[in-house]
């Protein structure tokens, strides 16, 4: 089965090679071939799913052979619960996207499908790589086709957007490369393997620098506030397929980078900087949401909504709790499906009317009822309506941040406000993103679908074709499955997250407790009747992090003590 995993990674690239070497085919045949190859790849990954044991926390389907021996670089691949479902998401989204964007690209079709296929291999490779060098190769390899997809087949400002995308991502990547080289430079020579990097303990100051370098690369990819500004431009200018893959998979590589590399490698730094990361995450949730609301351009609106939704993922990661991190990975899947759907639907409108401006639409519901149904449905899934895909992830993230002992659970003194309970305040602020999501998504729905139909150009607009329905139906079905039966995925994600969280806390253990104790300040200003200072150091009890069946012990009698009698 390890071979099957490798086949899945390279099959799209092989397909690209085939298309490149064959004499030019007709456009239809080119697209059909690409869809056939990627669909086959999806089916192969389903076979892989049947062989995959979700309860196993470690890596499965590993390949580990020497590659560039003199530099300690190995070809090491494998999957665990953190990466497995993201691979499924990738192999699922690519054929769906290609089918959805059937008519969107009419020039240089051969180059386009080759770029998409190479991109798929690059993304899959980045998800399976367990060697830092190998990861870096794939990470950069997917940058190039994406750059071309935006720069060649994009909208009017495509060159600006592509260059911006490239510079932002490159800047982060270079810092990460330096950090990788530093980490791999061990006393005995070179060692790029992920396992040894994770098993080492770096000096705390050093960790801060290395963590910073990795985090910057991943934060740009996510994108986290305030390094998100490349995303709206890239999304707006990219062709539909580019937007879907960008939002659906590429951004997830940022979150994946956090949980696979940055957090287990530099746990002390991750925990020490948790309040900053969590704060930026919440800032991103709110910032992205309010910015989305005022966009006149639909694609930009959806792009900013990604900034907001990915902010939830980062918050869940920052908490380093089982619930929060599981929620973050889950939200990656859900966001991939629902935002992918939104981009496809926006693309459908763009193909028909060649405008992305909300003000050019209005009153379409009567003309295109099937489209309207899908748009409302997808918007609701994205807004996190319970029983649809957006809800479980957000719920787990907020719950994991609010209720669990976590590095965010500390009291921070803010000048003028006194002590602030970080975790709870962040959760409450983050939860306003749930309100705002309804605000901007229903705003879009209304501007497009409701009201009187005023523009005569919209009179002739056609409803979804059979092909487009065939694209949207599986997406809609997945939105329901993800909302109603999260267990299908959670049972695979959770063991790996469990292992990760335990690793992070165990490795961080000592230093973290001392730091947290120092940071824990009085809450509420002193005065008559002020509460006694909290002396409790932040305690991460490993037992509380482990699964306890039917847990019902948060409040035990011994937790309560009578108030001191005056």
């Amino acid at each position: 089965m390890a071979d099957l995993l490798n086949v899945i990674v390279y099959l799209p690239a092989l397909g690209a090679l085939l298309l490149a070497s064959l004499p030019p085919l007709e456009h239809r045949n080119l697209k059909a071939t690409a869809i056939a190859v990627t669909t086959l790849n999806f089916l192969l990954s389903l076979i892989l799913w049947s062989a995959w044991s979700p309860a196993h926390a470690g890596f499965q389907f590993e390949t580990n052979v020497g590659w560039i021996q003199s530099f300690g670089i190995r070809y090491h691949t494998g999957v665990d619960g953190l990466s497995f479902y993201l691979i499924l998401l990738t192999t699922f989204l690519v054929p769906v996207t290609l089918l959805g964007a059937w008519n969107a690209v009419e020039t240089r079709v051969r180059e386009f499908v080759i770029a998409i296929l190479v991109l798929e291999s690059g993304m899959l490779g980045a998800f399976v790589a367990l060697d830092l060098f190998l990861f870096y190769v794939f990470w950069e390899a997917m940058l190039i086709p994406m750059y071309f997809v935006i720069g060649v087949w994009g909208g009017q400002r495509r060159v600006y957007a592509a260059v911006k995308f490239f510079i932002f991502t490159m800047a982060g990547s270079l810092l990460m490369l330096i950090a990788i080289l530093y980490v791999a430079n061990v006393p005995t020579g070179w060692d790029f393997s992920w396992a040894s990097a994770v098993s080492r303990n770096f000096d705390p100051t050093l960790q801060a620098w290395l963590f910073g370098a990795f985090m910057l690369a991943f934060a740009i990819k996510v994108p986290m506030f305030p390094v998100h500004t490349w995303l709206p431009d890239a999304h707006t200018e990219a062709p539909t397929a580019g937007s879907v893959i960008l939002a659906g998979v590429l951004l997830k590589l940022g979150i994946y980078g956090f949980v696979r590399f940055a957090y287990p490698m530099f746990p002390q730094a991750a925990i020490a900087y948790a309040p900053i990361i969590g704060g930026l995450a919440v800032a991103g949730i709110i910032y992205g949401a309010v910015a989305a609301w005022v966009q006149p351009d639909m694609k930009k609106l959806v792009a900013y909504s990604s900034v907001s939704h990915l902010g939830f993922c980062v918050l869940g990661v920052a908490a380093v709790t089982v619930e929060g991190m599981t929620g973050a990975v889950y939200q990656c899947l859900a966001h991939g499906i629902s935002t992918g759907g939104l981009f496809i639907l926006v693309g459908v409108l763009y193909e028909r009317r060649h405008t992305r401006l909300l003000s050019d639409y209005g009153g379409l519901a009567r003309k295109v009822p099937v489209f309207a149904t899908f748009l409302v449905f997808t918007a609701l899934a994205s807004a996190g309506l319970p029983t649809l895909s957006g809800f479980p992830g957000e719920f787990m993230i907020l719950l994991g941040t609010f209720t669990a002992a976590s590095p965010l659970d500390q009291i921070v003194n803010v000048p003028g406000l006194g002590g602030i309970r970080m975790a709870q305040v962040l959760t409450v602020l983050g939860a306003t993103g749930v309100i705002l999501a309804a605000v901007y998504l229903l705003w879009m729905v209304q501007k497009v679908l409701f009201g009187p139909l005023q523009d005569p150009a919209n009179e002739r607009i056609a409803d979804l074709s059979v092909r487009e329905i065939a694209v949207m139906l599986p997406l809609a079905a997945l939105m329901i499955v993800l909302g109603l039966f999260p267990g299908i995925f959670l049972k695979g994600i959770e063991p790996s997250v469990q292992r990760l969280v335990t690793t992070v806390h165990q490795k961080a253990g000592q230093t973290y407790q001392a730091d947290a104790g120092a940071k824990r300040l009085n809450w509420l200003p002193a005065g008559p009747g002020a509460r006694p200072a909290l002396q409790r150091p932040l305690r991460i009890d490993p037992n509380r992090l482990r699964l306890a069946p039917g847990r019902f012990d948060a409040l035990r009698p011994e937790d309560i003590r009578r108030p001191p009698t005056p």
């Binding site: 932002f168 305030p226 929620g327």
Partner: protein
Amino acid sequence: MIKFSSLAYIPLLPLIGAFVLGLWGKKMERSSATIVALSTVLGSFAITVIATYTMVKNNGTPLQAVLWEWIYVGRYRVDLALGFDQLTAALMLVVTGVGFLIHVYSTGYMEEDPSYWRFFCYLNLFVAAMSMLVLGQSLPVLFIGWEGVGLASYLLIGFWYSDTEKADAGRKAFITNRIGDFGFLIGTFIVLGLFGTMDFTQLRQAVAAVGPTDAMLTTGIFAGFSVKAVVTAACIAFFIGVTGKSAQIPLYVWLPDAMAGPTPVSALIHAATMVTAGVYLMCRLGFLFTIAPDALVVVAVVGGLTAVFAATIGVAQNDIKKVLAYSTVSQLGYMVLAVGVGAYTAAFFHLITHAFFKACLFLGSGAIIHALHGEQDIRRMGGLRKHIPITHATFLVSTLALAGIVPLSGFFSKDLVLAFASERSASLGILGSVGAFLTAFYMSRLYFMTFFGELRHPDPHMKDHLHKPGLSMEIPLIILAALAVVGGALNLPHVFTHTDGFLDRFLGPVLGTKVLSMTATAEYFFMAKSVGIAVAGIVLGYVLYGRGVPTKAAESFVESGPVHGVLYNKWFVDELYQNTIIRFTRFLGSLAAMVIDPWIIDGILVKLSSGLVSGSGRLLRKPQTGNVQSYAAVFVLAVAIITGWAVW
């Protein structure tokens, strides 16, 4: 707990109905769409009756159905579990029973609408969501219904979406409710953080095991706080949810706008069922509110203020549905007030009787609007008594019930609420009485202007081609009016029967029992006072509007003037929200998207980095002047320095 897996079909049947209608409704015959819509709700009603019977037969042991594991993560597990106890039974009977009647009525009311199937699809979806809400056995499962009814309400308010105003009203409803949902979520998290569970049964046990509530917590995320303080915070958070769903100050603003939806929707969702969800939630969590007396004070005050505030607005509205909408807000205020004084059963009693008479009033107003071809302004009505006699009779009965005239249902429930309120505090009692007077007054104004005098419609021939309601509309009206008359029998006062009322006994196991402490004489006196206030309001209404048109006095005091202006414009609350919160948020958005992103972030990141590159280039370019003399000078200088350094 008894396993009763058929519970799942209560929400499932209407959900299937919605699904079938949504996919194939367009191609269906109207009659088959009707059959799908009605049979599924009737099926739910039947299962509810069977479940109630099963529960009662088993001495009130709650029923349960666990569907599947929903969200199992880390230390927490949420099953998709449904529960059925006395409280569930009472509300489910109302939801499916009244819901079915309104479905029947709608077949007549929506007869000519081209999107007949879509209407019933949404209506079935609503019943499914509401059932989820009532049956949910834990906070997250209840939340499915909580948001689901918001969705159905959104779709139904904006049913005629081509009208921007109606689509706006739907969106406003959904978003205002979402603000409440935010409170609900936070409340859930606090409860979970404190008690470690979200399941109602386990929560109840946990609360019972707490002991002294002012004890300080020493561990967990709430260390340093007392149990009471944390529970109070949770209750306030839940109450934010309640103000959204049950339209209390400050989030009531969506409900009057929600009248943009078809009238049966107003009756079912925005009077009888969905808006009572907040009251239901507080009753469900009564054990929690009970140990948070400070939160209860907030609840009582907000409820009492809403009851009066909304009633004042109701006095000055001319749209028949708007009057009823503000009346609903006001009556919900009474229910919330009752919860606030700890009288959960009284709140629930009023919820049920209100469902009967307010649904009847809304359906009656629908019949009137239908008859007048869409006219909603009461200034253009009048004299309808003679033309639509059955609607008139049912409307009159329900009006009297709402005003609180003995022995109709509204009298018993409202009197009980008022008695508990005034026992708790005199000022709450006064608030309640003022509200009751205003209620009687605006309802009689509405009634006389609609049914008395002559028809004032601008179309002089309207009288001759009135759209008389058919049987499908009149039968539900009659049934609901009958229920409005006899509904009081559900919970007759102790002084009459010398035994606890039926609801008191039935709901006792869930809600606990609370009895009035006043003497029998005092209670009779109190009742007399209540009726007196209601009669006074009606008499005033008759004096001012008895001839169907406002008298001169009414014209100058009620229908015009500065007070009228403020009330007619709803105290300018919508404008206040528009100009503060909404404008501020959009300003933030514009600031982010148009200033911070392009100028500050891009300015610093992009321009700084490109500046760094070109700047260093420029700096390195400087020495390369191409002037041989200067190169030579530098060369000589360098040689001199190096030589000097080496020799030294």
